[in-house]
């Protein structure tokens, strides 16, 4: 490519560049999940159908979602994953888990690795990040930034698509005892789902009331600093969905030690 005459490429590059009408990556993602496509995504689908650029982006996203190491890539992938496990453990400050992947720690880094990121640079990066935190934020306030809004202070009601959520939303001092929302007109029952941030389900429940208690086992999974999502869906007598809340996000605050503690 670099040896191609740039003037020959100009027209093609202009024709294949994204336009203002091109859809966002989130819209493409929703198109991947056809069951989640609503009215807004129908417009996105219409654009994508006629747009070479967006069709290619959609194909790439689908390929990414389905990607896993192929037969010729497994060994290299295991080698990389073993190192990522080590790197992420360093980044998070967690004890390094014993690697499940072959090849971890068996070979010596190449000279260029010493000059690139590896242990020294990694430690420096973490130290620099810590320094920035110390310089910019008073230590008592250090910790995850606040999620807004916070329901701890009052009886705020959060309007969403159809089901209005009461809480929990935002940063909390303690794991919540229940999930609450406002009764939706015509609703006979509610289906509640709690998820991790990648939408992996943590827990679900059915309720006849506009609230549901959280079992102790679920509350025990609410580790300080870990965000969780939840959503409630209202159903009619036939079990048909009539309304849903937006996905809500909350987490338990990381408790900062007081001086002398």
């Amino acid at each position: 490519m670099a040896d191609a005459n740039p003037t020959e490429r100009k027209g093609l590059e202009a024709a294949l560049a994204p336009t203002d009408a091109c859809v966002t990556i989130e819209q493409l993602s929703r198109l991947c999940d056809a069951d989640r496509a609503g009215g807004a995504d129908a417009r996105a689908a219409e654009h994508v159908a006629g747009c070479l650029r967006c069709r290619t982006e959609l194909a790439l996203l689908k390929a990414f979602e389905a990607a896993s190491p192929g037969p010729g890539e497994e060994e290299a992938a295991s080698w990389i994953v073993a190192r990522l496990e080590r790197d992420v453990a360093r980044m998070t400050g967690a004890p390094q888990a014993r690697s499940r992947f072959p090849g971890a720690g068996q070979d010596q880094p190449r000279w260029r690795r010493l000059l690139a990121f590896r242990p020294v640079a990694g430690a420096l990066a973490i130290a620099a990040a810590m320094l920035l935190v110390v310089l910019n934020v008073p230590w008592r306030e250090a910790g995850p930034p606040a999620l807004s809004p916070d329901v701890a202070g009052g009886p705020a009601v959060f309007r969403s698509d159809s089901v209005a959520v009461v809480g929990p939303v935002g940063d909390l001092d303690e794991p919540p005892a229940e999930l609450r929302w406002e009764a939706a007109p015509g609703a006979v029952s509610y289906s509640v789902q709690m998820m991790e941030v990648d939408r992996t389900e943590v827990w679900n429940a059915q309720s006849q009331k506009a609230s549901v208690s959280l079992p102790a086992a679920v509350r025990a999974r609410m580790v300080p600093g870990k965000p969780l999502l939840w959503q409630v869906v209202a159903k009619d007598g036939a079990g048909k969905t009539i309304a849903a809340s937006e996905v809500q996000r909350f987490r338990v605050r990381v408790r900062q030690p007081h001086p002398g503690e």
Binding site: A4, E8, A15, F64, L84, M91, R249
Partner: protein
């Protein structure tokens, strides 16, 4: 610990992607490491409005494109030489198209003349400057010449489509 668990679920996707972009274990590791470092740094800004995999994809895509841009300063690979492609006599279609027609017409001709794989190869190669070997791996093309064969056939088809368009323009002018 939950961050480790979260990332662990997505290692296969990101790592395969990096391997396909870089085509080399060491460089793929550098790429994957940059992606997860960036993801960790920006985890707080992730609001759960899209899937984690979508969020990671956007970081991965951006880092992979940056990687390709950085690598393009190196000597070009042989398969990138457009000059190797058959000229088929006369004016090259992309040259003529650049001079004579608008981007809209180029898009219309591409859309009409090429099959879906050719369109994707063309878009990635000319739109994003992804090298042909990386496109071959990304799209899982199993033919012997990989993406290069699709570029050659696409150019041939585009040339024919352009001739037809020129002929129809002449007909309209007459």
């Amino acid at each position: 610990m939950w961050v480790q668990e979260l990332f662990r679920r997505h290692y296969p996707k990101v790592v395969s992607w990096c391997l396909r972009f870089a085509g080399d274990r060491e460089e793929a590791y550098d790429l994957a490491q940059t992606i997860f470092t960036k993801a960790f740094r920006h985890l707080e800004s992730f609001r759960g409005q899209s899937k984690v995999s979508t969020w990671l994809y956007s970081i991965t895509r951006s880092e992979c494109m940056n990687f390709l841009k950085a690598r393009s300063t190196r000597p070009p690979a042989a398969e990138d030489a457009l000059e190797e492609l058959p000229a088929d006599g006369g004016t090259r279609p992309d040259e003529a198209l650049e001079r004579r027609v608008s981007a809209e017409l180029v898009r219309a001709l591409l859309d009409q003349a090429l099959d879906e794989t050719e369109k994707k190869v063309f878009t990635l190669h000319y739109g994003d400057e992804v090298p042909l070997d990386a496109i071959t791996r990304l799209l899982g093309l199993s033919n012997r010449s990989g993406a290069k064969a699709y570029i050659v056939s696409a150019k041939r088809k585009l040339r024919r489509a352009f001739r037809r368009w020129k002929a129809s323009e002449r007909g309209l002018d007459a």
